[in-house]
């Protein structure tokens, strides 16, 4: 089956190459993606997949990698947002002979799929799971690409202090590393900059009613200067609505989990929310150009940074293959590990060298006003503010 599949693809590729008048025969390097195309991850993984598709096509259109010896292909398996299915999908992909693997946006299936890739010695990129501990948990073949939680938290904390906020109220959920660790990193950074954490409250993932928490905040005296959370959908929209309903007016800081249409669509409640993200499409920037291309191809009128990091992931892999001069797993891994200032499409450079496979990159802050994102700042946090993963 595997061989048959490869032969077909090769034949097509040869035909194409002949038609183009190219002299060499091409082989395919397949990048696998165990993606949650159904279930709760569908939104995130779907965008990563589309971004990755664009990068693959772009690279192939430019002649492939390693002097045109290889073309790229993307093989996607739906893991239905279920961890066991992620294992099976990853095993299938490994059996198919993929040379690199993208892992799902959520940490659990990312670890599960990561364990398979690690065993097989296949370089992997987490294009949208931002937990900085993830590479450490899985092993030396997994690289984080998205703005890591500690980076986001540090930039948010710097911004908060710059705004003159003295006290912060923090809402976290221990149910995922993202919603648990990011606010804790923020607390750490905020305090290291002289701020004070007024209270830490928790919510549960199967909770959709935030009236009690909102009531508790409304009853605080004095009111906190700022409220920070890494909650995302569906919790963030529910929380912010009920918070405002309870009469709390304090500014709210969020993280890149709320970079979604919902945040922009819920209306006045979200006005004034500032959150961190991987990049912002400033006029004339690379990200704006990418979004234009993305819209032209997929017709989405609101592309999000997940598509850009999916695109970046494939570009990074291609660059690593070029550097390594090989499609062998270990060689690609070593090349990735040595990346310095790779120009990302999100408008920042990416560095892995010396970062324990957690990408060092700029963080962008945006503010929601009238259903639109407005650029606030782009920055790389000071190393001393950045909490250790």
């Amino acid at each position: 089956m595997t061989t048959a599949l490869r032969t077909t693809t090769t034949t097509t590729a040869v035909a194409l190459a002949l038609a183009a008048g190219a002299a060499q025969a091409q082989e395919t390097v397949t990048v696998g993606f165990a993606a949650g195309l159904t279930g709760y991850l569908a939104f995130y993984d779907g965008m990563v997949m589309q971004g990755a598709e664009m990068a693959v096509d772009e690279i192939n259109a430019a002649g492939g990698v390693l002097d045109g010896r290889y073309t790229l292909a993307l093989s996607v398996k739906d893991m239905r947002s279920e961890t066991p299915a992620a294992v099976i999908a990853a095993r299938d992909l490994v059996a198919e002979g993929v040379r690199a693997l993208l892992v799902p946006c959520d940490v659990d299936p990312a670890i599960a799929a990561g364990q398979i890739g690690q065993q097989a010695g296949i370089p992997m990129i987490a294009a949208c799971a931002s937990t900085p501990t993830l590479p450490g948990l899985v092993g030396d073949y997994l690289f984080n690409l998205k703005t890591a939680d500690n980076l986001q938290a540090a930039v948010l904390a710097e911004y908060a202090r710059a705004q003159g906020y003295e006290t912060a109220y923090i809402l976290l959920s221990p149910d995922t590393p993202y919603t648990d660790l990011l606010p804790r990193y923020f607390a750490q950074a905020f305090e290291s900059l002289g701020g004070r954490v007024a209270a830490i409250d928790t919510y549960a993932f199967d909770q959709q009613d935030f009236s009690v928490e909102a009531t508790r905040i409304a009853a605080l005296d004095p009111q906190p200067d700022v409220i920070m959370t890494a909650a995302y959908e569906p919790h963030f929209p529910a929380f912010i609505q009920q918070l405002r309903n309870a009469g709390v007016t304090a500014p709210v800081l969020g993280s890149d989990g709320i970079d979604s249409p919902t945040t922009l669509g819920i209306g006045p409640a979200a006005d004034g929310v500032v959150f961190s993200m991987a990049g912002f499409p400033v006029e004339g920037g690379t990200l704006a150009a990418f979004y234009d291309a993305y819209e032209a191809r997929y017709g989405e009128d609101l592309p999000f940074a997940f598509s850009a990091t999916g695109y970046e992931a494939v570009k990074l892999l291609a660059a690593a293959i070029e550097t390594a001069g090989s499609i062998e797993g270990a060689a690609i891994r070593d090349a990735l590990d040595a990346v310095v200032d790779f120009p990302g499409v999100t408008g920042t450079t990416i560095t892995y060298a010396g970062q324990n496979r957690v990408a060092l990159r700029d963080v962008t802050l945006v503010e929601v006003r009238d259903g639109e994102q407005h650029f606030v700042l782009q920055a790389r946090p000071a190393p001393e503010t950045t909490p250790k993963p």
Partner: protein, 600 residues
């Protein structure tokens, strides 16, 4: 070796299929035998998986991930297979109180309790994050489940399930699934059997959970919640919950379906066809398959009978049937003393007393609604008396549950035949014979002997529910006799029979009295049968014993005739005129009565 030549991509699905087979075979031990759909076994799988994780994750990782664990647990580092078995033992201990509790429940309240178990275990696993990492993934379980390992455990699970199914408890539970009241009436301790079934199935479910954990390598509470529950139930329902073969077949079919759909859903080229990816095809396909089975065959593809039971006719054991000694007359008596029963303020039976001795046949007659069946049910323990006492051979048996009464030597049949419809005729009788003071093989031999005696041998393998009326009655009586009772209570054994059938029945009943020395209490409307059969007859009218004595005397008692037919017949001169309502010609009287009733 099959798995060695499998394309690499198939190994994972194959293992998953085997693991789900262990799970559904395990669930089937409880659900299939008892007929109660369980939503809670996924929770037990979770416990098994987490327990095995505690024993296999490397101590360093455990110390890092779960620092709150006791040092002894952190230090544990067993090889996977040992840990899987250890996890089964741990879950067995944890599940014991659960089994004792849920085993007491039946029907939909039991189902709901299992749903509660699912919710609670999930809540605890999510909540106890210091010990489980909560909603976050617990990882680092060694991936150790290969095809042969999984297959070996499938065999183990099937053997355990089959052993339970064929055991006394398993048979009793299946009987209760078919008819709870009848199972109690033959003396089966259904609660105990259900508790045992739950415990065993919990252990097998834990096994499946642990295997699952060591296949995936990562655990989250969410992985053991509604999605998995639904998937496993789908397998059980499609294959047929009531058989082990059905569960196994379901696992194969559903796994193949999922695998095919999964590949289709990813799109790609299949021969000449190129398909676009269709996301969610697996879920839709699985759901439609379930609906199709539910609409067409509610029992699933292989209901009730294991394939080998169809292929191999039931065999007679080599041992001779035990023959209980004839019961001596005068060796005791069954007494009902001033039994009274009220239902919502209505008095069904009022201070009724009866005595039944071994070797005699007592008839109990009376019009509809007189309270005959209620009186019988009070003696048999299925209706607790409001007041009064029941004594069996001198010992007080008032208020005992039916299966305890049955164990003291009192058996009954039901007005509306209550057989174990989907069990074979042989098994119907065997359930009752199982309770006697003899070995399993002897019990089976006794069941065969009774089939011979009641002319049912040719029907031994037939599901009892498919029999005609007469044979069904005979099965019910054979079943009641199987446990060698001292007293037998028969509620309208001849109802709905034609003359030839009731003549044959008469001979049978006389034989029970003559050859076995059993004391019989017979309720029937067929007075001819009562008069021919009984030594004494008691008449119940409006809940009270209004006459008792030899059949001929009773049949002429005007009180009796009035109770049956009304006053006028009682007065038409065929017996001593004890009734007050007699005078004038019948036609005349009708008018009188009308007048009287219209103008009180």
């Amino acid at each position: 070796m099959l798995w060695a030549v499998l394309p690499a991509g198939f190994e994972g699905p194959l293992i998953l299929m085997l693991v789900s087979m262990v799970a559904v075979v395990g669930i089937g031990i409880y659900s299939g035998n008892s007929g109660i759909v369980s939503f809670g076994h996924t929770a037990l799988m979770a416990l098994g998986a987490y327990a095995s994780a505690m024993m296999t994750i490397a101590p360093d990782d455990k110390a890092r991930l779960l620092p709150a664990l006791p040092d002894a647990v952190i230090a544990l580092h067993l090889p996977p297979v040992a840990a899987i078995l250890g996890a089964c033992a741990v879950v067995g201990v944890v599940a014991l109180p659960v089994a004792l509790l849920i085993g007491r429940l039946e029907g939909s309240s039991a189902s709901i309790a299992t749903l509660g178990l699912l919710l609670i275990v999930n809540g605890v696993l999510v909540g106890a994050r210091d010990y489980t990492r909560g909603s976050q993934a617990l990882f680092g379980l060694p991936i150790a489940v290969t095809v042969p390992v999984a297959a070996a455990f499938v065999v183990l699970a099937i053997l355990a399930a089959r052993a339970f199914r064929d055991s006394r408890m398993g048979l009793a539970l299946r009987a209760a699934r078919e008819n709870a009241a009848a199972a109690a009436a033959v003396g089966a301790d259904v609660v105990r059997a259900r508790q045992a079934a739950f415990l065993l199935s919990a252990v097998i479910a834990a096994l499946a959970g642990a295997l699952y954990g060591h296949f995936i390598g990562v655990l989250t509470p969410r992985a053991f919640y509604f999605d998995l529950t639904f998937a496993l139930l789908a397998i059980l329902i499609v294959g047929g919950m009531t058989t082990i073969a059905g569960a196994a077949l379901g696992a194969v079919l559903v796994s193949v379906l999922v695998e095919v759909l999964r590949r289709l859903a990813d799109g790609g080229t299949f021969g000449p066809l190129t398909l676009p990816p269709v996301y969610g095809l697996t879920t839709i396909g699985l759901s439609l398959a379930i609906l199709a089975v539910l609409y067409r065959r509610q029992g699933g593809l292989l209901p009730y009978v294991e394939p080998d039971e169809v292929l191999r006719p039931p065999a007679r054991p080599a041992v001779p049937p035990p023959a209980p000694a004839r019961i001596e007359a005068g060796s005791g008596e069954l007494r009902a003393e001033r039994l009274t029963r009220r239902f919502d303020g209505v008095i069904a039976v009022s201070e009724a007393s009866l005595v039944l001795r071994p070797g005699e046949i007592l008839g109990l007659i009376g019009p509809n609604g007189a309270g005959k069946s209620t009186l019988l049910s009070m003696i048999a323990g299925s209706v607790p008396p409001t007041s009064g006492r029941v004594r069996i051979d001198g010992a007080d048996a008032t208020g005992l549950p039916p299966h305890r009464i049955a164990r003291r030597g009192v058996q009954r049949t039901f007005q509306n035949i209550r057989l174990f419809g989907n069990l074979s005729v042989l098994d119907n009788v065997r359930v009752a014979a199982d309770g006697g003071p003899w070995s399993r093989a002897e019990a089976t031999a006794r069941a065969w002997a009774l089939l011979d005696r009641f002319d049912l041998t040719a029907l031994a393998a037939r599901p009892a529910g498919t029999l005609a009326y007469g044979p069904q009655r005979r099965v019910e009586i054979a079943r009641a006799v199987a446990r060698a009772p001292r007293y037998l209570l028969l509620d309208e054994p001849a109802a709905g029979m034609n003359a030839a059938e009731s003549d044959a029945l008469l001979d049978l009943l006389e034989g029970l009295r003559r050859d076995d020395g059993i004391g019989l209490l017979v309720i029937d409307h067929d007075l001819r049968l009562i008069l021919r059969l009984c030594d004494r007859v008691a008449v119940l009218g409006k809940g009270q014993v209004i006459a008792e004595g030899p059949p001929e005397a009773v049949s002429r008692d005007p009180l009796v005739i009035e109770a049956y037919l009304g006053r006028r017949h009682a007065g038409d001169g065929r017996g001593p005129a004890r009734s007050a309502a007699t005078s004038g010609a019948p036609g005349q009287k009708t008018t009188d009565q009308h007048e009287r009733r219209r103008d009180p």
